[in-house]
């Protein structure tokens, strides 16, 4: 739950987008660009390896709620492996 | 057909222009070329005529671009042509291989001049014959025609487009400067007498399952899908499978290259064109093509008048080489003389197929072989 110094008047109308991260593990080549550039620090590299031996990303413990479906990992993944889809907006407060 | 495309009637024009008119009659709608003597008149003529009939003329920055442009045009569905001479043809060879590999129909007119290198730009030669056959890297078969008159510059260009489209192959018009620059009578027929053979089209609608390189018919020619028709094809110069995807294995490569080569070989009988004069009972046969055949015809006629049993076999198509014809001929005649404006190119093929020595009347190029040396060779063979 977010903490505000002063609560905005239209807080009930503001929805912050939330995203669900998806991965096609077999396509990933462990380049870590998604992990490094996620603005919300949602991802990290796991110890799990796909069939080709690359370490695939995972959502950091407890950080799943931080994904705001900004789309950066979706756009920047060279392998068409990771992407986010929006989940229902979660009202804050 | 547009009236302005087909100038039905009697004309008096030069060979290069006749070739250009032949292209238009055949439905050519794209010319991408670069000026080079002695073929420039083809480009100039089409620069004037193509805009009149809604076709595209573009002078590209070099011959490399010209060849690439006609392949792109062909892939989009157009009948496309370029025209050049020896030095330009050398530049086009890499993409000739692409045309073979991607099975893109196109016509390349090579108005041969004195070669090698810059050679004799304004004087004839016939020395690109082997280059047309073997110039590009790898194994492939090519179709090449050799016109000997202004009328043939017209007629064979139409045939070249038809052959290219029917067999999805590049076709080379091996002309020479004499025939390109001579001015003779040309008869352009009416519309209903011009035969056009269209490309084989896919029978299925575009739905992703069409294999652009699967040849199911005995002629080994796959149907052709053009860009923008919804087939979402992939064409690559890499060795590919029937779907067009790169598939780099020795097995696929052998199968693909063999099919591409056999595609011409199995259809050779339909492609080969020859003409003979006084071959009945001939014991000495002169083999010639292009402008050299005109001199050879005179020499053979004079020989006959002297009572020598000579005949003339004129090759209209140079490639694929008419092997069976020569095997049969070899059984019947005593001497074969090959008269060509190079130091022995078709003569090598004749020697290869007949497995016997061949008398050559050769000249490296620069001027038409006159009838005299050919007649002398006939007379010497007759003694």
């Amino acid at each position: 739950m977010r903490v505000f110094a002063r609560t905005p008047l239209d807080i009930s109308q503001i929805t912050i987008a939330r995203g669900q991260v998806y991965l096609i593990p077999e396509r990933c080549k462990g380049c870590e660009v998604c992990v490094h550039f996620c603005p919300q620090d949602v991802l990290s590299i796991s110890d799990e390896r796909n069939a080709k031996g690359y370490r695939i990303p995972m959502v950091k413990d407890g950080n799943a709620g931080l994904c705001v479906h900004c789309g950066f990992c979706t756009l920047v993944c060279p392998e068409f492996a990771i992407f986010t889809l929006p989940i229902n907006g979660d009202q804050d407060g | 057909m547009d009236d302005r495309r087909l100038l039905t009637g009697m004309h008096f024009m030069n060979g290069d222009e006749a070739c250009a008119e032949g292209a238009l009659a055949a439905g050519c709608s794209f010319f991408g070329g670069y000026p080079i003597t002695p073929s420039t008149e083809i480009a100039e003529h089409l620069a004037r005529r193509l805009p009149e009939i809604g076709g595209v003329f573009i002078q590209m920055e070099d011959e490399l671009a010209s060849m690439a442009a006609i392949l792109g045009a062909s892939a989009a569905g157009a009948r496309a042509m370029t025209a050049t001479s020896g030095p330009g043809f050398s530049l086009m060879l890499e993409n000739l291989g692409l045309a073979v590999m991607q099975e893109l129909p196109c016509v390349i007119v090579d108005v041969q001049r004195g070669s090698p290198s810059t050679g004799l730009p304004t004087m004839p030669g016939q020395s690109d014959v082997m280059q047309a056959r073997w110039g590009s890297h790898g194994d492939y078969e090519i179709v090449a025609y050799s016109p000997w008159s202004v009328q043939e510059m017209f007629d064979l260009t139409i045939l070249a487009f038809n052959t290219a489209d029917r067999y999805r192959t590049p076709v080379v018009m091996l002309c020479d400067e004499v025939v390109g620059h001579m001015i003779e009578r040309l008869v352009i027929p009416p519309h209903e007498q011009v035969e056009i053979w269209n490309r084989k089209k896919p029978k299925v609608q575009g739905n992703g399952s069409f294999d652009p390189f699967r040849a199911q018919d005995p002629d080994l020619v796959p149907p052709m899908a053009h860009a923008g028709e919804g087939y979402r094809v992939h064409f690559t110069g890499l060795t590919h499978d029937e779907h067009g995807y790169p598939e780099m294995s020795a097995e696929t490569h052998h199968a693909l290259v063999t099919r591409l080569v056999n595609k011409i070989k199995v259809n050779a009988d339909q492609i080969i064109r020859t003409e003979d004069y006084w071959l009945e009972g001939a014991e000495i046969v002169v083999v010639a093509y292009g402008c050299s055949a005109r001199s050879a015809q005179r020499a053979v006629r004079e020989a006959r008048e002297m009572g020598i049993p000579a005949g003339l076999l004129r090759l209209i198509s140079l490639w694929p080489f008419p092997e069976r014809l020569f095997e049969e001929l070899s059984e019947k005649v005593g001497t074969i003389i090959v008269a060509e404006m190079n130091l022995g190119q078709i003569s090598r093929e004749v020697q290869r197929v007949t497995r016997r020595p061949v008398t050559g009347v050769f000249h490296a190029g620069g001027e038409m072989i006159p009838p005299e040396p050919i007649l002398n060779a006939i007379r010497e063979a007759a003694t």
Binding site: Q20, K29 | Y231, R232
Partner: protein, 277 residues
């Protein structure tokens, strides 16, 4: 709260040849990123997919043609642009894009590049610039920065590189932009813009090549090169940059200028048509 979910297919699978995934490019390679932006731009363009055509040359970037599920033509080295020109002039309704690499487009293909720009043919070019010939193992090319190492320049590249935005703007292209693989939204937006722009458009995208370029030049992986872009890139606001500043020299701490460098309205090439009475 759940973690990452495993998926079987990607939202873009209908526009890429998903049956050929994973593609051949190395981990950290930037080509896939540019292809992804191009694929997205196709979907967002409003032009039917069947009207889009991609023509590529030889090299790693040239392999994009094989992975796009549209009419695609993988042609000979350096000759993608004239092939595309022939295709476009015969079927002007095709949205023709040339997608190739720095070596293919500016070395062997250099002549065709400048002439197509000069003519202002309505073709879009996307040039992935990874500063070397990647497919063949990392040789230097016309865009390799001075002093960088390559397999054919083991003592450091003695040559000065092309300044592509300057070259293309001078040749007459209607639209010239340069981005890096970090600037994914801008790449997609500019490809979309290029689609709408009549005339010749050229978008250069700087991309990491960890195996071909990075390895010889102390850039450890694609990520490190992207981070280098993040630190050094400077957006050009109005396209007016001194041409000397446009060249890239990775040794010095020079800014790498990115952005739009030309956006003009020279008339696009039209084949001549005449009325005959």
């Amino acid at each position: 709260m759940i973690g990452i979910e495993i998926a079987q297919e990607h939202p873009l699978d209908k526009i890429i040849r998903a049956d050929r995934m994973p593609h051949i490019w190395c981990p950290g390679c930037g080509i896939g990123i540019v292809m992804r932006c191009y694929a997205q731009a196709i979907l967002d363009s409003g032009v039917p997919i069947d009207q889009h055509v991609v023509v590529s040359g030889i090299g790693c970037s040239g392999r994009v043609a094989g992975y796009m599920n549209i009419d695609s033509y993988h042609t000979t080295h350096g000759r993608a642009i004239p092939f595309a020109v022939g295709m476009k002039l015969v079927k002007p309704e095709l949205m023709t894009t040339v997608f190739s690499g720095d070596g293919d487009l500016t070395a062997i293909g250099g002549n065709h590049l400048i002439h197509a720009a000069r003519r202002n043919v309505d073709v879009n070019v996307i040039c992935v610039n990874n500063f070397n010939y990647g497919m063949t193992g990392g040789q230097v090319g016309p865009t390799t920065p001075r002093g960088a190492r390559g397999t054919t320049a083991p003592y450091g590249n003695p040559e000065l590189p092309f300044n592509l935005p300057y070259l293309l703007a001078a040749s007459g292209a209607n639209f010239v932009a340069r981005w890096t693989t970090l600037h994914v939204r801008q790449i997609r937006d500019d490809i979309l813009y290029a689609f709408t722009r009549p005339g010749f458009t050229f978008i250069e995208v700087l991309a990491p090549c960890p195996v071909g370029f990075g390895k010889s030049n102390k850039i450890e992986d694609g990520l490190e090169e992207m981070e280098l872009y993040r630190q050094r890139c400077k957006l050009v606001q109005d396209g007016d940059v001194r041409k000397d500043d446009l060249s890239i020299d990775l040794r010095e701490d020079k800014p790498i200028y990115i952005g739009r460098f030309a956006d003009q309205d020279r008339p696009p090439y039209q084949p001549v048509k005449v009325e005959v009475r």
